[in-house]
C-alpha cells in the first residue's frame, strides 16, 4: 500500500531548519509539492538563498524522513523564482519572532531599496518598537540583515525579503 501524502507532509513538518531550528522546513515554505506514486515519494524542493549551506542538509533530511516512512524518496530541486520569503507560514513567522529573528516584510511590487531598508518600519523582535535602524544589509547568513533597536538598545537579525 502506498503512503498517504498527508503522512509525508506530517513527517516533513518535523524537520527543523538546520540553521534556525525553531522553524520547520514546511513552515519555511521550501517544500513545494509531495506526490506519491507506488513506493516512490516525489518531493519538490525549492532552495531559499542559492548559496545557503543548509540546502544539502535539508535535502538529506527530506530523503531520510521519506525512508523512515518506508518510501523511496525522489527529491527534485526546483531552481526558479517560486520561493519567496512570502512562503514562510504565519506560524513560522511567529516562531521566528519568538526566537529573536524579525520575520521578513512581505514582497512588494518593486525590488527593495536602500531607502526602504533605512526608513521602513522594521519592528524589533525583542521590544516591539519600530525605532530601529539598518546596521548592515548583510548578516551572519545570506538570508539575514543586521539591525539595531534604539528603543531597547539591542541588535537583532532581520530576515531579508526575497
Amino acid at each position: 500500500m502506498s503512503l498517504a501524502p498527508d503522512a509525508v507532509w506530517r513527517a516533513l513538518e518535523e524537520i527543523p531548519d538546520p540553521e534556525i531550528p525553531v522553524i520547520s522546513i514546511v513552515d519555511l515554505g521550501v517544500v513545494k509539492d509531495v506526490r506519491v506514486e507506488d513506493e516512490t515519494v516525489h518531493v519538490d524542493f525549492t532552495p531559499t538563498f542559492m548559496g545557503c549551506p543548509a540546502l544539502d542538509t535539508m535535502r538529506r533530511q527530506i530523503e531520510d524522513a521519506v525512508r523512515g516512512l518506508g518510501g523511496e524518496p525522489e527529491v527534485r530541486v526546483v531552481l526558479d523564482d517560486s520561493w519567496s520569503t512570502d512562503r514562510i507560514s504565519r506560524e513560522g513567522r511567529q516562531k521566528l519572532r519568538t526566537a529573536g529573528f524579525a520575520p521578513p516584510p512581505p514582497r512588494s511590487a518593486g525590488a527593495p531599496t536602500l531607502v526602504q531598508l533605512e526608513r521602513g518600519p522594521f519592528r524589533c523582535p525583542w521590544c516591539g518598537s519600530t525605532d530601529t535602524r539598518l546596521e548592515n544589509v548583510f548578516g551572519p547568513t545570506p538570508c539575514r540583515s543586521l539591525r539595531y533597536c534604539d528603543a531597547c538598545r539591542q541588535p537583532f537579525e532581520q530576515f531579508k525579503t526575497i
Binding site: 548559496g51 531552481l79 523564482d81 525590488a111 548583510f138 545570506p142
Partner: protein, 223 residues
C-alpha cells in the same frame, strides 16, 4: 558545445571567480561590517555559480564541481574584470559596482528569455543581487560625497572601465554606458572593451589555488 552551455558557463564562471575574489576580503576588510558584507556576497555569488553549473552539467553529463574545478585555464569563459586581484578598497568597490550594474542588465535580458529554465534561474538570482546592488550603490554615494572619494573612484574607474564593458555582449553595452554615466554624472571614455576569452595573468594564480583540493584528492575530498 551548445550556445546555451557556453552562456551558462560564462555566467557561472563570472560568479564563481568574483565570489572567490570577494572572499579574499574575509578577515581583512577595512572594518567588520564590510568583512561580513563581502563574505556574504561571496557566498551568494558562489551559490549562483553552483546553480548555473548544475544546469550546464545536466546537458554535458557531468557535475557542478567538475565544471568549476576540473577545467583547464583556457576553458574558462569568465570576463577578465572578475579575474583581477585588486585588494585595494576603491578598486574593490569600483569593480563591485561595475559588475553589479552590468550583471543587472544581463539578468534583465535573461529574465525575458524563451528558455524557461534559464529565465527562472535568472529571476531567482536577481532577487538576491538586489541586495548586492544596494550595497554597491551605498558605497558609490559615499565615494561621490567627498573630493577624495571621487578622486579615488575616478582613478579606479579609469583602470576598470574597459574591463566592465567586456562583461556584456555588444548589444547590451550601450545600456551599461548609459547607466554608469547617469550615476556618475559625467561621461566615460569610449574605449575598447577587454573581451571575454582572453585571460588575465592573475587567473593562473587563482586557478591554482581554487583547484588545489581537487588536485590533491582526485578521488574526492570529504570533511
Amino acid at each position: 558545445m551548445s550556445d546555451r552551455v557556453d552562456l551558462l558557463l560564462s555566467l557561472a564562471d563570472d560568479e564563481l571567480l568574483l565570489g572567490w575574489r570577494n572572499s579574499e576580503w574575509t578577515g581583512i576588510a577595512p572594518f567588520l561590517e564590510e568583512d561580513v558584507a563581502f563574505s556574504s556576497i561571496a557566498q551568494n555569488e558562489i551559490g549562483h555559480a553552483r546553480a548555473l553549473y548544475e544546469l550546464a552539467a545536466r546537458e554535458l553529463g557531468t557535475d557542478a564541481d567538475a565544471l568549476a574545478f576540473d577545467r583547464t585555464l583556457d576553458e574558462y569563459r569568465s570576463a577578465p574584470l572578475v579575474e583581477l586581484r585588486r585588494l585595494e578598497w576603491a578598486r574593490t568597490i569600483a569593480r563591485h559596482w561595475l559588475y553589479e550594474t552590468a550583471d543587472a542588465i544581463r539578468l534583465e535580458a535573461l529574465k525575458g528569455s524563451d528558455d524557461v529554465e534559464l529565465a527562472g534561474i535568472a529571476a531567482k538570482i536577481d532577487r538576491e543581487e538586489v541586495y548586492h546592488r544596494i550595497h554597491a550603490e551605498m558605497w558609490i554615494d559615499r565615494l561621490l560625497a567627498t573630493d577624495e572619494g571621487r578622486g579615488r573612484l575616478d582613478e579606479a574607474l579609469e583602470e576598470l572601465w574597459p574591463y566592465a564593458l567586456g562583461v556584456l555582449d555588444d548589444e547590451l553595452r550601450p545600456e551599461l554606458v548609459r547607466r554608469a554615466e547617469e550615476r556618475l554624472g559625467r561621461s566615460l571614455p569610449a574605449v575598447e572593451p577587454v573581451p571575454r576569452g582572453r585571460h588575465e595573468a592573475e587567473l593562473a594564480e587563482l586557478h591554482d589555488e581554487m583547484t588545489m583540493v581537487r588536485r590533491s584528492a582526485p578521488a574526492g575530498a570529504r570533511w
